[in-house]
Subunit: 206 residues, 2 copies
Amino acid sequence: MVEVSESRADRKERTRQSILGAALTLTADSSLVAVSLRQVAKEVGIVPTAFYRHFDSVESLGLALVEESVVALRGMLREVWRQAPEFRDFIDGSLPLVASHVRAHPQHYAFIVRERVAGPPRVREAIRHEIELITRELATDVARVPGSEAFSTEHLNLLADLIVSSVVTTAERLVDRPDQEERIIAATRTQLRMLLIGGLNWRSQR
Amino acid sequence: MVEVSESRADRKERTRQSILGAALTLTADSSLVAVSLRQVAKEVGIVPTAFYRHFDSVESLGLALVEESVVALRGMLREVWRQAPEFRDFIDGSLPLVASHVRAHPQHYAFIVRERVAGPPRVREAIRHEIELITRELATDVARVPGSEAFSTEHLNLLADLIVSSVVTTAERLVDRPDQEERIIAATRTQLRMLLIGGLNWRSQR
DNA sequence: CGGCTTAGTGAACGTATGTTCACTCAAACC
DNA sequence: GGTTTGAGTGAACATACGTTCACTAAGCCG
């Protein structure tokens, strides 16, 4: 309509993206369980029935949003880890990265934080599964840090779990109060140091 | 109707409690933003209009549920702190208490965890405010522990915040997987020790 | 006893929901 | 270049929603 030349598949993909975007916007101040197919359609500018050409329910729309959000999250973690050769630098170097990622994709992080606990059952499950995978990856990454050889696998996992929880909490706060980014990051920085000092001192005490 | 002698106020209170209970049950697998006044009324066994005799909207019902849940939470913390004269005992002594409280009031803890991030705006705000108050209380409690004198107020708050986050996360997991209570508690125990060791070593490093 | 208060009723309203079906009409294909 | 495919349309449905209003009937109080 607007564009002269656009392949059929391209156009479909464009509408699909519009639906995903509209859903992110609509869920922003409630939850996926509270948005209706018709609201999404109206926001996109299509008729309710056209929705079914792309998803067969709001729930499967949610699963697509999980995938999309997780891609963003993995992108962040990859970037974080790539430029973090050492523990101390890990904290100082990666927190600003976390912040800038959250700033760049606020809706995706808000979506994960929210739907992880309040989404439709299958969406919740999908998010938790992904976070579990990420936690495991982080544990194996931490295991490569010099000085961590003495940690048992179990303790590595627990440490990774604490870190992930902390980052999720931080993302939650950044999404909620973007204006206080500096204060939130400073607080998390101190907390992560407490945490890692604890982790490093841990093996000498057990 | 059922009971012969029941004061008018008593009966009203009983219905009110039924409404609160029904709302907790209905929100259990979705969120407050997704339950309707009519669903609640049907669950309670009253006609939709009767709902307005007790609350003027689902949102204000939510605020009442926050109050109720927070009472339970404070009860737990009071009990935890009463029998925790020392740091080490604090962890070993209080985690089972946390677990038993979550087991006793699973719906209330699930409600807090969920609606904190996904509830109606005013409900979210209320929960966060209450958690902030509780964190502050915890910080002043921790300040009374021998050996914590060297902590700055700021660091005490950060430590308390970390502990509260951890407990919230634990509650979240206990609610989600009641069958794995033992494993979850063991994991949290180890994590809290890492955390407190970090906190205690912290002051000698800054 | 008799009037007053009030928790709960039941009908009615306009609107929003998910899903169905038959349809259009332009890009894709042989 | 004629046929097929499929994204988007528009009407229709049964059901659910929040809120209104006039009402009943039972506990309260002078």
